[in-house]
Amino acid sequence: MRKAIDDGFREFTQAYGESLEAFFDPLLTFLVWSEKVLLNSPWPLVIIAIAGLAYLGSRSWKLVVGVIVAFCVIGYLGMWEDTMSTLSIITVCTIVAIAIGIPLGILMARSDKVQAVVTPILDIMQTMPSFVYLIPVVMLLGIGKVPGLIAVIIYALPPIVRLTNLGIRHVDPDVVEAANAYGCTSWQKLKNVQIPLALPSIFAGVNQTIMMALSMVVIASMIGVKGLGQPVLKAITNQYFSMGLLNGLAIVAIAIIFDRVSQQYGLRIQKHREGGHGV
């Protein structure tokens, strides 16, 4: 039985592996491109750009100073290249997860049937040990950037889907009723009412998705994804404690920066809603 499945899957791989790879080509191009941009630009420019984004997101000078210091230290300790690889894979994964996750979350919110189908799949994605689904991905696509990317996306996708769905379902029913009473089409309702009001929740989802992607970096490095995960992996196999520690700390630093910036941004977009409305 097990053998039958394995054989079947192997055949499937042989038949479709290549076209699948072609299918994911744009993803690879995107990743390679973003990596190149980050690595080929002079480092002060990259730091200024990241600090600028952090400021735009959070409007906090403290955070900006933190970003500059963190990246200078990373560069000084020789982890610049790996950090840039990690940043680019996180960026690509997050963008892809948002592009898939938000529409899927919206579909789930609009239909109980879709919700009933998707929820268990998300549960499986979140509870299944990541190594298990690394196997078919690797079998299909081999070792390399793309399978790593896909593994990270699969792992990071559930929170954004869940929280988009939840956010839209929890929009004040009175406001939705008002939208109906004024003759909105369902697209107008989505655009003018449901998405804006669900935004804090959607944002929490984006934040969690980024965190999940970061935590997957080490595991993804096992199947050939470059970045901060690889030195950590090397450190584990060769027992280089300080190397592992430093790279680990770099991951933590990036995580904290992403987390704070996206949280501050999330708070800022809902600041005028403070105190709620009405009763």
Binding site: E177, A181, Y182, T185, N192, H272, R273, H277, G278
Partner: protein, 353 residues
């Protein structure tokens, strides 16, 4: 002011909530009570065979205790709720026959709604909230801008354009809600307990604003409230619902003078009649042939009993003659009738305190 053209006709409207509403229609048509329907058939009777006309250019109040079906009824007018059986005919068109597109167009063009909890868009500024209905109607930018500013000014919120709803008090938020509704320029204005969340003084202000605007706009306003004083103040007519059934509909005077049943009687018991009942409602049509000017006072037919009493006492009169707007004598009120109108009040105050 109100000519008697029917704007909204509700015909045989029933609404049953539950798993399979159609299956219990026969029982409902045989007059099963709300309790029995719930107990024996696990369905909730929301509305039971409502037949009523709502007149053009007037404020039609719908009253009833909590759970009597007021919100359910008003939401049938723009079909936010679909009826189980029955028809809603507005300007000769059956709302129940409309498809989605027609229904949206109908809602945009003919109805506007004000909500108890305001239901403003918290992420939009005040002016952008007022613009909302117009945007949905697909009007062009300059038109929307002009209308939105005009109506915001009319409700007294000029200068608050850039505020967010959460920065305003409840009363101000509901003015925004009112401006949003009025900006749509729809014939029918639906207000579901629109002022119930406001404190008494603000509420009274809002009632005044509404009445003032209505003199000029002459819309069909369907106004829900469970506050009889509010109903008497603003309603041209009042409809009273009990457990999903319409028990009485008519001008306030009729309801006060001739309550249809115990439920209505209890409803109107607390009201201060002397401030609501009008001379014309309690007068007899006999005009005395001789008028002794020293002990007779002439009052207007639309004066309240309280005003009549006041004039009697200040002028030391013993007899009251009622005149219409042109000064024609149309009736008289004897002191016994007056005493009864007042004593009704006194008795009730005794029993309630």
């Amino acid at each position: 002011m109100s000519d008697k053209d029917v704007k909204i006709r509700i015909e045989g409207l029933s609404k049953i909530f539950g798993a399979n509403p159609k299956s219990v229609i026969p029982q409902v048509q045989q007059g099963i009570s709300k309790e029995d329907l719930l107990k024996k058939h696990k369905h909730v009777l929301g509305l039971d065979n409502i037949n009523m006309d709502l007149h053009d250019h007037s404020i039609e109040v719908i009253m009833g205790l909590s759970g009597s079906g007021k919100s359910t009824l008003i939401r049938h007018i723009n079909r936010l709720i679909d009826p189980t059986i029955g028809n809603i005919i507005i300007d000769g068109e059956n709302v129940c026959d409309m498809n989605d597109k027609q229904l949206r167009d109908f809602r945009q063009a003919k109805t506007a709604m004000v909500f108890q909890k305001f239901a403003l868009l918290p992420h939009r500024t005040v002016i952008d909230n007022v613009r909302f209905g117009l945007e949905m109607q697909g009007k062009d930018g300059a038109f929307i801008k002009e209308k939105a500013h005009y109506w915001l000014e009319r409700v007294g919120l000029k200068g608050f354009e850039k505020h967010y709803p959460a920065q305003l008090s409840g009363g101000m938020q509901q003015r925004v809600g009112l401006a949003r509704a009025l900006a749509c320029d729809a014939d029918i204005l639906m207000m579901d307990e629109a002022f119930s969340a406001l404190d008494p003084l603000i509420r009274s202000d809002m009632q005044d604003i509404l009445l003032e605007l209505q003199v000029e706009l002459k819309k069909t306003i369907v106004f829900i409230t469970h506050d009889l004083d509010e109903a008497l103040k603003i309603g041209d007519r009042i409809a009273i619902l009990n457990n999903g059934r319409l028990v009485q509909q008519g001008p306030a005077q009729d309801i006060l003078m001739n309550p249809a049943d115990d439920y209505v009687e209890r409803f109107v018991a607390d009201v201060n009649r002397t401030r609501v009942l009008l001379a014309k409602s309690i007068m007899s049509a006999q005009v005395p042939s001789e008028i002794n000017h020293t002990d007779t006072v002439v009052v207007g037919q639309d004066d309240t009993v309280q005003e009549v009493l006041h004039q009697m006492l200040t002028e030391d009169a013993l007899q009251v003659v009622v005149a219409d707007e042109d000064g024609q004598h149309v009736g008289s009120i004897d002191t016994d009738t007056l005493a009864e109108a007042v004593s009704h009040q006194v008795e009730e105050e005794k029993t309630t305190t």
